[in-house]
């Protein structure tokens, strides 16, 4: 069971709250849009990632659980 971060680029409007709440994994590019440095979330950051996803004003940040097999 692995958890990864994905951004819905259509919903994302570059608010930047995710980068404030999960700076270990998300950075902002020169236009203020999030770049996910590494999509796989370590167990220690999982709760922070979920909080960041809840906080996203446009619900563009997704925390996805994959059952091991790649899509």
């Amino acid at each position: 069971m692995s958890t990864s971060l994905r951004i819905n680029p259509i919903a994302c409007t570059g608010h930047g709250m995710c980068a404030e709440l999960l700076p270990e994994v998300i950075e902002l590019d020169r236009w203020g849009y999030p770049v996910v440095v590494s999509p796989a979330i370590p167990r220690s950051l999982l709760e922070y990632a979920r909080r960041a996803a809840r906080a996203c004003p446009t619900l563009a940040l997704l925390v996805e659980e994959k059952a091991g097999k790649h899509r």
């Binding site: 819905n8 680029p9 259509i10 994302c12 409007t13 020169r30 236009w31 849009y33 770049v35």
Partner: protein
Amino acid sequence: MTATRLLAGVADAAGLQDYERWYGPLPGPGGPPGRARSRSRSRRPERLIEIIEAAGLTGRGGAGFPAGRKMRSVAARPGRKAVVANGAEGEPASRKDRLLLTRLPHLVLDGITLAAAAVGADEAYLCAHGTESGLLRRLGHAVAERQAAGLDPVPIRVTGIPARYVSSEQSSIVQYLNGGPGRPTFSPPRPHERGVNGKPTLVHNVETLAHMAMIARHGHRWFRGAGLPSAPGSMLVTVSGAVTRPGVYEIEMGTTAGEVIMLAGGPAERLQALLIGGYFGAWLPVEAAWPVPMTHAGLRAAGGALGAGIVIAFPAAACPIAETARVARYLAEESARQCGPCRLGLPALADALASLAFSGDRGGSADDIAALIPLVERRGACRHPDGAAQLARSLLTAFPADVHRHRWQGACDGVRRPPLLPLPR
């Protein structure tokens, strides 16, 4: 080498009767009642999927995904399905889909009917650009002709879609058919999961469906009689640029790029590069490109992409940076503007390329191009920015000397040539 399979009757098979004379009737479901079923290969609709899988047919719309696997994943889902034939040739340098729809519409329509029966669809659409009113009308006539002959159990709806570059992307088409704008959507769900009217939807390029119509008649072993074991069959390529006889040609998969250029009459002037795959493809220096086999794997290994079989012969006297800058500007304007990195990044990329091409600002723009590529790649909902990124990256890789020269000495003479790469308008 050249193959004459799809295009066997291209000169004379636009009408239904001429078409049936050239290619023979369609066996199995979908064929007119009362015809001899000597080859009962496709008697069970699902059998077609096995045959397509055995034939190893891959999509001819650019992605090269195994067609049988796609059909199987749609067919496996519960409920009724939909089939969409994508004939909206978004790439400006591609002409093959247009050729098929104009000269061999019944081959495509046979393919649609076969696919619809195989996956259990009750809706079928054939899409082309809405601006092509003449083409759409003729396709409507072809469908009506077939209806009168009792050929298509699932009626095929000829639909005009917006003539924008991103509108021919498969999720755009599905959203448009659902009554929304012709813009890409975020997945999940993918069309094969939930597409037109909520049904699992099979979206195939028209050439792929034309091949299916041939395979249904002649079998998978026949299909594998051409091409390579890893890349079987034939494909259509559109050759343009500095060649003597530009046009659409049918080749066996695995034919080298150099052989394709010779098929089109050979170079019209000295070449420096080939642009293969269209604006979603990549530049390759001519010496590196010449022996590369026209397969997805072969071009990937050479640092390029097969795409939808577009080959543009680029002359030595033209400037690839200037041409790429023009194309990048077009791609930036064609953005659906839904995703920040594409909406903002592609114009920045176009600006940097134009600056390098025409102003040669002592290095800043070349570094900016390199910095922008990873900022736009894979950061959109569709692959539009990826295409621009790949084009720019291949430019830097294939023409380091030109880039260096533009950086430090300014624009070359080639920028003054009239534009070569085709763009709409």
